[in-house]
Each structure stands twice: as structure tokens, then as C-alpha cells.
């Protein structure tokens, strides 16, 4: 029995990690292909928005591209009527430091925005925020900071900007964590199942019971 127990070898772990890497690469490749097809079919299309395309709450427009926050919860909402939103690049100017810049999203028509569907920006340069949204996003709400009286100037908003092929292969922190933990855990489960089967077969053999074809 001990011999069987110790037979669990590392190749299984290696195989699980290799499989996970291949699955991840295929997933990234699939995302790139899917995104390309969606762009061709027009379901994902690049759009440049102006302030007028946005519905604002707790903000008062003072010019074509500028508004002032009238509470600590200013909101700018955009809904795509016929397509999907994959990513958004926003360039903003503030009169005061804005604080948190979270983007809320919904994937169903009448769904309400909530804390559990939120993404945070990658700030590429001063005032330029890049948001990547999950597949199927129909509408987003950007809260431009949490400072009452902050004057917000929208320099540009681009929905679904072109992405390079390689950008689909950049994994998020959560995905990297999964890639690290899941293969090791899967290997542990598979080795457990293999050993259980061996022990089961061995027991039946010892009891001289007729063997079933496995």
C-alpha cells in the first residue's frame, strides 16, 4: 500500500500546469478571435463619445465638455443600444484631486448598477484612464471621483478602442492567481482519485471478487 501511496509523481503536477498554460493561451486566443469577429460583425464598434452622449447625475453641465459635481457621488452613464462594450479610454481633467475612479457595469438591459460589478482603471498617463470590461457589458457608469464641487472636463471618451493582438494575452491579477493555484489543486485531486481507484481495485482483488473491466 505504501508503495502505491508513494508512487504519486511530480509529472502529474507538471502536466496540470502545462495544461493550464495551454488552456489559458487558448482562452486568450479565443478572446482575440471572438473580439475580431464581433468587430467585423459590428457588435463591437469603436465610438468616440461627447459629453452629450452621457447621462449625468449629481453633476451640472457648465459648458459643452465641462460639468461640476453637485454632490460627493457624481455619475456619468452610457448605454450601448445595439452592441457590446469591451473597453473604455477616458481622458479627464479635474479642478481637484478626484479620489476613487471606479466604473460600474451591467450586462442585462434593466439591471441596476451595484458594488459587485465594478472595475478600476489603469491610469496610463496623467488623467487618462483605461477600463477593461467583462464580456457582454451593455452599459457603464463612471463615477468621476467623490469630491463635491469638483469641475470635470471631458477631453475624450473612446469606447472599444482598437486593441493589439498581444493585449488579449495580458492576464489580470486574479487570473494569474488562478493559474498558480488551480493546477496544483487539480493535480492533488487527480492523484487522489487515481489512488482511490487503485486502492479500490486492490481491495477487490484481495477479496477475490470478480474484477470489472474499468
Amino acid at each position: 500500500m505504501k508503495k502505491i501511496f508513494c508512487k504519486i509523481k511530480a509529472p502529474l503536477v507538471t502536466a496540470c500546469y502545462a495544461a493550464a498554460v495551454i488552456i489559458t493561451l487558448l482562452y486568450c486566443l479565443g478572446s482575440a478571435v471572438y473580439s475580431g469577429l464581433m468587430r467585423q460583425s459590428g457588435r463591437i464598434k469603436e465610438q468616440t463619445l461627447t459629453f452629450d452622449d452621457l447621462t449625468v447625475y449629481n453633476m451640472e453641465k457648465i459648458s459643452a465638455d465641462t460639468a461640476v459635481a453637485t454632490s460627493v457621488d457624481p455619475q456619468m452613464i452610457f448605454s450601448s443600444s445595439d452592441g457590446m462594450i469591451q473597453s473604455v479610454i477616458i481622458e479627464l481633467d479635474f479642478s481637484m484631486q478626484p479620489g476613487e475612479m471606479a466604473m460600474y457595469y451591467v450586462t442585462k438591459p434593466n439591471e441596476e448598477f451595484g458594488q459587485n460589478k465594478r472595475v478600476w482603471a489603469k491610469e496610463t498617463s496623467d488623467g487618462v484612464y483605461v477600463y477593461n470590461l467583462p464580456v457582454g457589458t451593455k452599459s457603464f457608469r463612471l463615477d468621476p471621483g467623490n469630491v463635491n464641487g469638483n469641475v470635470v472636463t471631458v477631453k475624450s471618451i473612446t469606447v472599444n478602442p482598437k486593441k493589439s493582438f498581444f493585449s488579449y494575452f495580458a492576464l489580470s491579477a486574479g487570473q494569474l492567481l488562478l493559474l498558480l493555484v488551480v493546477p496544483a489543486f487539480t493535480a492533488a485531486v487527480i492523484s487522489y482519485l487515481i489512488q482511490c481507484k487503485k486502492i479500490f481495485v486492490e481491495k477487490r482483488h484481495k477479496a477475490n471478487l470478480p474484477k470489472k473491466a474499468v
Binding site: 478600476w120 491579477a173 496544483a184 492523484s191
Partner: protein, 690 residues
């Protein structure tokens, strides 16, 4: 040196690990917790002896010298049996190194900072004081009435991680705490020293890493959790409780199996670890006593790792070892208390102490008398007792449910390990641990009831302030040791199917629960930059204020932040160090209602602790002038104004506070005119920024 200090401190820990493995022949996965314990003990002792800097150099020198001694091949004396080379490469040790290095690099890039109340009022500030002065925080002076009695283990660890650093950085404190966590996790998987045992150590390692989330998060969180980037002592104390027991049982398991063990040396190490554990946090000292008690009972009933030749010698060995396990924390307690008494005596002479709570012996006596009906129960005692019982059953603490549910889950894990395990010795040990740890939990819970009934402030007791935080410490360690006992049971081939299945099932539940309730963006792994936004703003404000101060050898900075609940006061005080802030009546909070007659400038709690009693302070303009003069307030920092303050005190400032209102000045400096009049004039931001 901004990053190298952490690297050197971590390298010294690894150097000790190599020495303990190679020369003391302790399993390498057990060495990180021993090395971290040595750091805690050494630096705490050095702090008490007030020789931190020289003792620190000695520590690093010795650590690296021992490393060289361990790796340089030694000539064997003729006839000496060749011992097998002790291996460093165990899964636990490798896991410790990888996860520690990852966190060091990650935090060096992202630099998280302190953001919780007690970090700013105690843990973080104490560590910063220690770094700035190279003296234990107990003697340091801060704006508010400093309570020096908090145990020094964790704060010393934060200091150690930046011993060679030029400036203090909070992320290095977090690294110190995290290395302690990882050392505990390494000990939790130490019983499985071969890589082919990944079927066990992977689930145990995963459960260990997730345990702080699993047992403290009770709802899907919407604000980034500060687990793994906090300097609070509660979670580390709980994990250390589990870590001490995991270390001991892994050690015994390894030494009971000749094939897996390096050698039977290194038994002394458990006493070092127990001692270090008792220096974690004052109100969790009881928890560490429970760990010491379980180890003492195990030594007494089931023997130590070393076998004596005769029965008498064996009995003596067991008794001495068990006594040692209990004496270690007791000795730490006595030494620390004697030290604190000497500090308090000095402070008392200087009249710096306010109200103190009842002595512990009186509290325990009163508590039992009320519980057993010898004394009439006070309303507060009855209230605390009822609330705590209700809290145990109803208050949701984690995704599993209330404390009662967690306790049942933990006991169920012990039962599964004991009933399904095939190793008789380990089964007995599991039963003993389960029984004693359950009794220990009852004891700890009783101490918490007494704390709420007699020690904490009435307002804290009324709402069971920080109940989750205090009680979770026990559950964390208790859960971890239950998992380790289950894993050790599952390591035996005979108990493979059910126990290994249970362990994998538990791991799957842990992964699913944490994935469901804690998104990566809400955890340490991908928290948004905005998490620390408010605190970074205050950091910038304090930096600007510091630049405005030319020289402040003597005197303080008075702080004005109307309507602050105290958090901004503590944060700014912490950020302004080494410049001393004045108590400033707590930073200018308005309230409570009964004092608020519209003409006062006061702070309730800080006035009370300053003078030993709550006192109504009537401060008109002349009163404030007198106060500023008596307390050597060279500067006034205006963080937040309101109409009340302007109406009352604008005449104290040369520009009637105009610059502060316009955002042109943050600091005002005292000017004494020829006629003896004292006013404060603005230091304009433009001049400062030049």
C-alpha cells in the same frame, strides 16, 4: 537603501534557517518560524535593555556568521559517523521563500500604507517612533496619553524589517507581519517534507493562505480588505497560536517517523517559539497560554521527542519539558510587566498617567463571584454576559456563519481526524488537542466577557466594540491547527480515502468561499490605488506642513481639524513625526452634545485622559492663547475650519484666517510682538514650495 534594508533583513532570516537546518538538524520548513521567533525575542529584549542599535548589528553579524559556519564544510573527526546531509529543499521552505519574495517585490512596487484607526493610534505610530529613535516605543512621547504596555513582539518585527533603512516605511512593517504568516504556513505544511506529497501540502498551504479571509470575511466585500497589509495584532496573534501548535505537532510527527526526520535534535526550539508567541499582543496572551498548555499536556501525557533510558528519567524529562512550556510565557509576562511597572512609575512621577482599569486579579475574582451568585451581578456585567452569549450564537463572523458555527466546524474537523485516523498516537494527540483547545476557547471567551464587563470603556462595552476582531484571533489559530491535525492524519496511507477526501473538500470549499466573497480587486493581490487615497492626501498635507517648519527643536504644532472624529488627528500626528504635535484637545472635534453650547472648543475623550477625568473646558480666545503659550505651540496647522472656529479665534491670526480659507496657507507660525502680544502669521504655500 530603500529596498535593500528589507532584503538584508529577509536574508538574515534565511541565513538563520540555513543554520538551523544544517547544524541544528531541524526540518527546513520548521526553521522560518523559529528564525522569526528569534528576531522577535532578540529585538524585544534589546528594546527593553535600551540597546536596540548595537544589538541589531550583533544580530545581523551573528546570523550571517552562523550561515557561513553552516555552509562551510567541516572536517570530520576520525571515527565519527557520517550523518546524512540535511536538506533545505522541502516544499514548506520553498513555499516560504517564494511567497515572501513575491510579497517583498510586490509591496516595494505598490507601497501600501497604514489606514486603520489603531494602526495610526498605536501599532504603526509605535513602530515609527521606534525606527526614528532606535528605542522601544514605551518611552517615546506622542501627543496623546501613550499606553506603553502593549507587547513588543510584532512592533519589533516591523522595526527589524527596516533596521538598515534610512526612512520609515509602513509597507516594510506589513512585510514583517506577512513573513510571520508565511513562516506559520511553512510550519503547517512541514509534516510533509517530500515533493511527492503534494497531494497533502498543496491543500494545506492553500487553506492556510486563505484562512485569514475565510474566517474574517462574512459578506461579499465592497471595500478593499487590508488582510496581509495591516499592522493590527489580532490576526497575527491568532495565526501564531495556530503556528506554535502546528510547529510542535509537525515536529513530533516528523520525529516519530525515522524516514522523514532529519534528526531528533532541535527540541529546544519549541520553547523559543512559545516565548516569542507570548509577546504578540496583550489581550491575546491568554490564547498563547492555551497553546503552551496544550503543548505542556501533550509532553506530559505522550512524552517528548527525546526518549530517556529509564522510566524515572523519562518521567522527569516529561515533567521538566511540560514545566518549561508553561514557564516560558509566564517568564515573558513577568519580565515585561516588571519593565512596564518601571516605565509607569516614571510616568506617574511626571503625572502623565490618567485613569487605569482594575487589576486583572480583581476583575477575575469579581467576575466569578458575579457568575456564581456570591455577588450581585452589576447591570454592565449582565449586559456583557448576555450580549456575548447572543453574539456567539447569532453574530455572523465569517462565511460559515456565527462563532457557534465556526466552533462546530472546527470540532467536526478534529472529530473526523480523530475518528478516521489510523495512527493511534496521533489520534490520542488529536483528541487531547481538541478537548484542551475547546476548553481554552471557553476560557478566552470568559476573559473577553470580563474585559467588556470591567475593563473596556462603557461605550465600548455597550456595543461590544471590536467583538469580531477580538474573538476571531482564537478561531483563526484553532481552525489552522484543526486542519493541520486532519492533514497529518490523512498522511498515513491507511487513512487515505476518507481523510484525504475531507482535506481536499475543505480546500475546495475554502477556494470557492473566498473566490465568491473576496474579488481579487478587493484583496491584497489587486487592490485599486484609490484604496489609500484619503491617507495619501493626508500624507501629502503633512509633508507640506513639515516643509513649512524650519526648525522645531522645542515646542509643538497645534492641530485644528473641526468635525474630525479623531482619525485625521491620529493620522496627521503619525505623519508629522518626528515633529511633535500638541494634543490640541484631540484635534478640534466638536461634541458630545451635552458640552456643545456653541462657544466651546474642546475634545471630550482627550481632555478626560489628559487630566484623568472628564472636564468641561471653556476656551475663549484668551483661554486658547494661554493654552498655546503654556504648551509651547510654535505652530498651528489648519486642516479643517468651520464657522465656529472662525468666529471664536480669527483674532488669533494676523490675517484673520484668510490664507487658510483660500487654501494659501496650511501652517501659521507664532510671532511675538514688541508689546508682548502673541499672534500667529501664515506661512504661505508658495514660499514653502519654493
Amino acid at each position: 537603501m530603500q529596498y535593500f534594508d528589507v532584503a538584508i533583513s529577509f536574508a538574515a532570516i534565511l541565513a538563520l534557517c540555513v543554520f538551523f537546518t544544517k547544524k541544528c538538524r531541524i526540518n527546513s520548513a520548521l526553521t522560518p518560524l523559529l528564525a522569526v521567533s528569534c528576531v522577535i525575542l532578540w529585538f524585544s529584549a534589546a528594546g527593553v535593555a535600551d540597546i536596540l542599535r548595537p544589538a541589531g548589528y550583533v544580530f545581523f553579524g551573528v546570523a550571517f556568521a552562523l550561515f557561513v559556519y553552516a555552509i562551510v564544510p567541516q572536517k570530520k573527526a576520525a571515527g565519527t559517523a557520517q550523518k546524512a546531509e540535511a536538506t533545505l529543499l522541502t516544499p514548506g521552505f520553498l513555499f516560504f521563500i517564494i511567497i515572501s519574495v513575491f510579497f517583498i517585490i510586490y509591496f516595494a512596487v505598490r507601497k501600501p500604507i497604514f489606514s486603520e484607526w489603531d494602526e495610526l493610534s498605536l501599532w504603526g505610530t509605535a513602530c515609527k517612533m521606534m525606527k526614528l529613535e532606535d528605542r522601544l516605543y514605551t518611552t517615546a512621547e506622542v501627543a496623546w496619553n501613550w499606553i506603553p504596555s502593549q507587547l513588543p513582539g510584532l512592533i519589533s518585527l516591523g522595526y527589524y524589517m527596516q533596521f538598515f533603512g534610512a526612512v520609515f516605511a509602513p509597507w516594510k512593517v506589513f512585510i514583517g507581519y506577512d513573513i510571520l504568516f508565511f513562516a506559520v504556513y511553512s510550519a503547517a505544511v512541514a509534516a510533509f517534507p517530500k515533493f511527492k506529497q503534494y497531494g497533502i501540502f498543496v491543500p494545506v498551504a492553500v487553506i492556510s493562505v486563505l484562512t485569514p479571509y475565510l474566517l474574517t470575511v462574512y459578506t461579499r466585500i465592497v471595500f478593499a480588505s487590508n488582510i496581509y497589509m495591516s499592522s493590527y495584532g489580532d490576526i497575527p496573534s491568532g495565526m501564531m497560536f495556530g503556528g506554535v501548535l502546528a510547529w510542535y505537532f509537525s515536529y513530533k510527527y516528523l520525529n516519530g517517523d525515522e524516514n522523514l526526520s532529519n534528526d531528533k535534535n532541535g527540541f529546544w526550539a519549541i520553547f523559543v517559539i512559545i516565548s516569542a508567541a507570548s509577546l504578540m499582543k496583550d489581550n491575546t496572551f491568554v490564547i498563547q497560554l492555551v497553546a503552551a498548555g496544550i503543548i505542556a499536556a501533550d509532553m506530559l501525557f505522550f512524552g517528548t521527542a527525546k526518549k530517556a533510558k529509564t522510566k524515572k528519567a523519562e518521567a522527569a524529562h516529561r515533567i521538566f519539558a511540560a514545566l518549561g512550556a508553561v514557564v516560558c510565557p509566564a517568564a515573558m509576562y513577568i519580565i515585561w510587566n516588571r519593565y512596564i511597572v518601571s516605565i509607569v512609575a516614571v510616568k506617574e512621577e511626571a503625572g502623565e498617567l490618567g485613569q487605569t482599569s482594575l487589576p486583572l486579579s480583581v476583575v477575575v475574582k469579581k467576575g466569578f463571584a458575579m457568575l456564581l451568585g456570591f455577588e450581585e451581578r452589576s447591570a454592565r456585567f449582565t449586559d456583557a454576559l448576555n450580549q456575548m452569549i447572543e453574539g456567539f450564537i447569532k453574530t455572523k463572523l465569517c462565511v460559515f456563519g456565527s462563532g457557534a458555527v465556526i466552533a462546530l466546524v472546527i470540532i467536526a474537523i478534529f472529530v473526523v481526524a480523530a475518528v478516521l485516523g489510523k495512527d493511534a498516537a496521533h489520534r490520542r494527540r488529536t483528541v487531547l488537542t481538541a478537548v484542551l483547545s475547546t476548553l481554552g476557547f471557553v476560557g478566552y471567551y470568559w476573559v473577553l466577557i470580563l474585559s467588556y464587563a470591567f475593563i473596556f470603556r462603557e461605550s465600548q462595552a455597550a456595543r461590544l466594540d471590536s467583538y469580531n476582531r477580538y474573538v476571531n484571533s482564537y478561531y483563526l489559530g484553532w481552525f489552522l491547527i484543526a486542519v493541520v491535525m486532519l492533514a497529518i492524519s490523512a498522511a498515513k496511507p491507511k487513512s487515505f480515502v476518507l481523510l484525504r477526501g475531507a482535506l481536499l473538500g475543505l480546500c475546495a470549499v475554502a477556494i470557492l468561499c473566498v473566490a465568491r466573497y473576496v474579488r481579487p480587486e478587493m484583496s491584497v493581490i489587486a487592490y485599486p490605488e484609490s484604496t489609500f487615497y484619503s491617507w495619501k492626501q493626508m500624507q501629502d498635507e503633512a509633508d507640506t506642513a513639515k516643509q513649512a517648519i524650519e526648525k522645531l527643536e522645542k515646542g509643538k504644532v497645534f492641530f485644528v481639524s473641526q468635525n474630525d472624529n479623531g482619525l485625521r488627528f491620529f493620522t496627521i500626528c503619525y505623519e508629522m513625526l518626528p515633529y511633535q504635535m500638541d494634543l490640541s484637545f484631540g484635534g478640534g472635534r466638536t461634541g458630545p452634545e451635552e458640552y456643545n453650547d456653541g462657544s466651546l472648543y474642546y475634545h471630550d475623550s482627550f481632555v478626560s485622559t489628559q487630566n484623568g477625568k472628564t472636564e468641561k473646558v471653556n476656551l475663549d480666545l484668551q483661554g486658547l492663547k494661554r493654552y498655546l503659550n503654556e504648551n509651547d505651540c510654535e505652530y498651528i496647522m489648519i486642516d479643517e475650519l468651520d464657522e465656529l472656529f472662525e468666529q471664536q479665534y480669527a483674532d488669533l491670526f494676523t490675517d484673520k484666517l484668510l490664507s487658510a480659507k483660500n487654501g494659501d496657507a496650511l501652517m501659521y507660525k507664532r510671532v511675538v510682538y514688541d508689546n508682548g502680544e502673541v499672534l500667529y502669521e501664515p506661512i504661505l504655500q508658495q514660499a514653502v514650495l519654493k
